[in-house]
Symmetry: none
Subunit: 210 residues, 4 copies
């Protein structure tokens, strides 16, 4: 008889358990990869039965989406922290980019997931609503970088945005090629590549306004 429990308390409980499931999913996902992340495995890691998971997430894809959303949120936090720890704009830019790199290097699954969900190995990854949500999170995560670039190069928001996107492309290229082992084959170190790009970017930005 839980009639005594107020509605918001109940909701809190629910949210709590939902998060536990999510954490379990993340763990399984990190340990076993995309293929190993079956509903059973996730449920088990959460201390539930497969069926129970469905009271929290209606679909496997939903779980993936949620993980991805969390990932992006943490990425954003990571970027913010990296920037906050620096004094100069150049330091902030370098720190931010390196933070993104480090983030995905340490959670390669999150990269996989992003590609998987968006690209849609499955017909339609998620509903457009979820998609929009994830997109806005991505944009928010990048905004701090854009701001730094704008200040450093004295750029308009638009130009700074372009430069940010370019940097992100480079970053993801490095991450993807590193993650698939191609960089090793090509005898290249991802971190050196990142730093190399940053050197060029900073040089260009500093030169621009003068």
């Amino acid at each position: 008889m839980d009639g005594a429990m107020p509605a918001n308390r109940r909701e809190t409980n629910r949210k709590f358990r939902q998060d536990a499931v999510l954490a379990a999913a993340q763990q399984v996902f990190g340990e076993q990869g995309l293929e190993g992340a079956t509903m059973r495995a996730i449920a088990q890691a959460a201390g539930y039965t497969a069926g129970a998971v469905y009271s929290y997430y209606p679909t496997k894809e939903t779980i993936y989406a949620e993980i991805l959303a969390h990932s992006l949120a943490e990425l954003r936090t990571g970027i913010a922290a990296a920037i906050a720890a620096e004094k100069t704009d150049e330091g902030r830019l370098r720190a931010a980019i390196r933070a993104v790199y480090a983030f995905y290097r340490s959670r390669p699954q999150d990269l996989d997931l992003g590609l998987y969900v968006f690209q849609g190995l499955r017909p339609r990854g998620l509903g457009p609503e979820l998609d929009r949500q994830l997109n806005s999170r991505l944009i928010m995560a990048l905004q701090k970088i854009a701001g730094t670039i704008a200040r450093l190069g004295g750029l308009t928001p638009l130009a700074a945005h372009r430069e940010t996107v370019a940097a992100i492309c480079h970053l993801f290229g490095v991450l993807v090629l590193a993650g698939t082992g191609r960089l090793k084959i090509l005898d290249s170190d991802p971190e050196i590549l990142i730093d190399h790009y940053l050197d060029g970017l900073v040089a260009r930005l500093k030169r621009l306004p003068g």
Copy 2:
């Protein structure tokens, strides 16, 4: 009496159908994505029963490997052609990079496949032998670009290699983000990004030796 069809002809026919299967695989792959590319689907697209496919390719992974090998060979041809059509080293560099871009833009599945096969959603997609083969094809495909960069910037082979890898990272980053729809969200045009990168690269290379 099998004089009617010489061994020669036989083999040709076989090769022909084998290629048809491969084409079917590529088509299914493009239409349904990696997950949809089941042996049944491939066979059906080729007008066969599932079992029949196995007389052409002993394994699903083999088909993937073959598609990828073809893809890389064509990529190389494409790069060579693009370079051959230009007179100046700058033109060659720009043309080569744009050729890679155009190649994967027009066959997004090939990108997926490369990531899938190499990264190995499966334990290890293919034997190390095949892997090596594919690797060398990749390297060969990139060598022409490295040569052009070396000449343009007066770089040592090593430095040119580094610069080539960096360019490829950028390129793949753009391709991946474009392919997953992220660039659209970020309101960015992949071609502009490529050109932007090329401008910077060329400028840097020209400045370097002086």
Copy 3:
């Protein structure tokens, strides 16, 4: 144009190739066991395509039956040879039984086949006609042993038959348990078991008439 070839020559040729297929089947069978003996494997060992085998044997089971028939014929020859090489009836009995033992010990597949075909892992192993044929071959193979037993023990044909069957049962029991590894588990040597049985049998036979 082989109109020049007389019918019986043609038949001889056919028989020849048919035997080649059979030999191949036997070889595959010995090397790969029952499960490995696919039509393709047999055909290949014979230098043919799978389809070609069907001009010689309409069914896989037919091949098995033929192998078994050959096996029984050879067994009979082996028994006869073993008996012929001995001077005394006791020697003949011992030699005959040991010959059967050695025969199946060296071709465990033939034992498997016998059990497989007769017992019918498949619904109906062979037609009743083939079955009868194989049966008579079995009986013929055992007749020499029965004769020796009859003489040694001064038994009526009927009594000798019974004793022969009993000996064969013992023999097959040893063979089956040895072949399935049970005897090793039970720490027993098949040859000792056989000799032990023979000792008892000979003693009994010698005692009987007196």
Copy 4:
């Protein structure tokens, strides 16, 4: 609220259904033979889908192993009961051997299964662990017979073991030949053969110590 069904009861239910699956497997196995005993067939006989069976037994081989284990356990019980019902050692020996005979005569599939599993038409039917378990069950099943033989013949444990194994060989030989229809062909009655062997064995044992 799952107070309605205590864990206790749950487990019992589960065990019940698991046994039903096993019974179905045994039935299919008896009706269709080893080859016909597919997972689908077993499932259907149990009123399930193929997939459901896998929640009771993780593998087909496991089912086989379980059937065999049950079989050996029952065999042991049967032997014990037969022995317990007799007063004299001779009676016990005869009863035990006849019990084994009757057991397998009434469940010919169990014999097949034993041969199949141990001999391993498959590379190695079951892991060595299961194999050892089954072996020890087999040995335990035979120990009572060995004890009786030892007492009856005044034999050392070793000698009694040898005699037991010999008897088992005979028995299995009779069973196999009877099961494959060979005995009928040879116009012999398995029971008479068994009794004949027992007569000889008992005579020998009684004579020995004197």
